[in-house]
Amino acid sequence: MTKATRQCGQFLVIAVLFAMAAVFSNWPVYRQIPQGSGIVVLSFVHGADRRADCRRLTPEEIAKLAPNMRRTEECPRRRRSLYVELDLGGDTIYRANLPPTGIAGDGPSRAHQRFVLPAGSFDVAVRLRDTSRSEGFDYMRTERISLAPDQMLVIDFNSATGEFIFR
């Protein structure tokens, strides 16, 4: 192999390697959702009620406690799971029991779900239960939304006001 052939070969190898690096560093383009669709994100953090009510301790139970640790009530830390439902155009597309976070189960429940939908108008209903009731919901909101292509519409919940927010 002559020196010139070798140098041409070296140039070719390096050129191919670097061209590959340049090309695959941003190509091919990846499309996350189909053309003409948007994303609805249900995302919120909310703590449900405690699993059980506070209980008054009996005098015997209080006496058993260390003098400096005596209290009259015992309140369990563990929270209930949240129950959430999301309807779209009359169909329930998401329903979930969201357990509390934290090792002791005393943290808030969290929801973060993405739904890819074709662009257009939809009736959306979102419902949330955070108490001990077995039927019905504590919070709900129904809204007609208009989803543009590539739009990201977020359904959030404000714990302080008890309102669902569409943005």
Binding site: I14, N26, V29, Y30, G38
Partner: protein, 532 residues
Amino acid sequence: MIRAIRGALRHGFEIIERAFDRLFGPAMNPVAQLGALGFFFFWVVAVSGIYLFIFFDTGIERAYQSVEYLTRDHWYHAGVMRSLHRYASDLMVVMVVVHMLREFSYDHYRGVRWFSWLTGLPIIWLLYTSGITGYWLVWDRLAHYVALVTSELLDWLPIFGEPIARNFISTGTLTSRFFTLMVFMHVAVPLFLLLGMWVHILRISRPKVNPPRLLAAMMLLALIGVSLWKPALSQGPADLARAPVEVGLDWFYLPLYPLTDFWGRGAVWALLGTFSVMFALMPWLPPLRKAKPAEVDLKHCNGCTRCAEDCPYEAIRMVRRTDGMPFPTQAEVNPSLCVSCGICVGACPSSTPFRRSEELRTGIDLPDYPLRLLRERVVETASTLHVSPRIMVLACERGGGAGHVGGAVTLPCVAMAPPSLIDFILSRDLADGVVIAGCAESACYHRFGIVWTTQRLARQRDPYLRARVSRDRFATIWSSALATKQFEHELADFRRRLAALAPTRPEASTPSQNHAPAAKMPRAPAENEAVP
């Protein structure tokens, strides 16, 4: 299964490497410099990153604007630096991945090499973390996509109270402090990566952390060329009200991100977890069968340090003398690091087959394949040499000569053969010529077997080959186990050259005598024989 994959990969690497050997030369072969090139690209990324940091501004709006400013307004220096930063990071991934595959294919991950293999795993994780945090800083559409997918992946793990992804789904939730945090991450993680790279080579003797200068210059020129040809650009500012639905992905760093859409986050974590566990366990699947480690015989060790100097695994260290002999040090073998390659045996000045002790002993020896046995095999093999000129092959068990039928003595590494063995073979008329056949020049299994052998034969490294040995009567052939044709071809060349020389024994030149059993039986070295 693992063996089959390894074999297939090895075959592929052999084809590419031998072609590159011809193109670049063994010393410049980029495939044999992958680790060093990884270091090189890391330094390019580090220097260009420091330069870019001068221009970078942390802030939701300002981050993108500052990157655009340096890319557009100052394209001729800062823009080029940005491209160098991007492409050198991408090439570092390429180097790391190919390096990993090559070490796997050459079985360089089991036995004592487990440490370097295992410490490669955090390097992969840290490298990807460094790259991903870097993409985040630009705060363009790709950064938004990376932020969303990464945070959703992390949120899948039950360790965060509030979903991190909530920060990236609507305007007003993200503050400029976030960019300060990301800058810190993007500096801290590469520092940990560098630490990991240092630990990775800690147990490697004479690690190659710098590629040859000419190769480095070629890579740098190519980097600058590609930066000018196709500068790294942003993909439009991030808009949290719009989903980053179409992005030009960096497929070197983000190939798993689209999988979260198809498989789900749990499956991607399962894939990463399985890969990591498998990777970590591979050195023991199955473990490498190990020969007994080298042993030091203090009666024959004068503490010359040559074995410690030549050991590629840093398995030998010099310690204070313990036997009262008038030498300050003695060699000590660390059995957990010794791979029984025998390079120390070849380095020991007392490893000479001419020695006249009752049983051939040397200062450091392999219990499973002592120098005595090597000499016996050489003598036995000499008796099988019928064809004139008689050629004795001292073959590395992993090289192209290992499979040579007739006249070959295999060794764990060619550097196990002390130069005096060649002198012994020729001066005792055990053969007319000697071939030292090792691995391919750029892929020596024990890393320094070829280098040390070449230097010893060239009288540049102790122990030297004696000057009386004719250069015409020995040759070196460096070929891989798969390149047996190359070996046979070079052997035939040597045979032709040897045939043209005057015979060492006039009586051996006649075929009838050469094939007579009495004539071909070499004289075995007698006990207490004097050194010639």
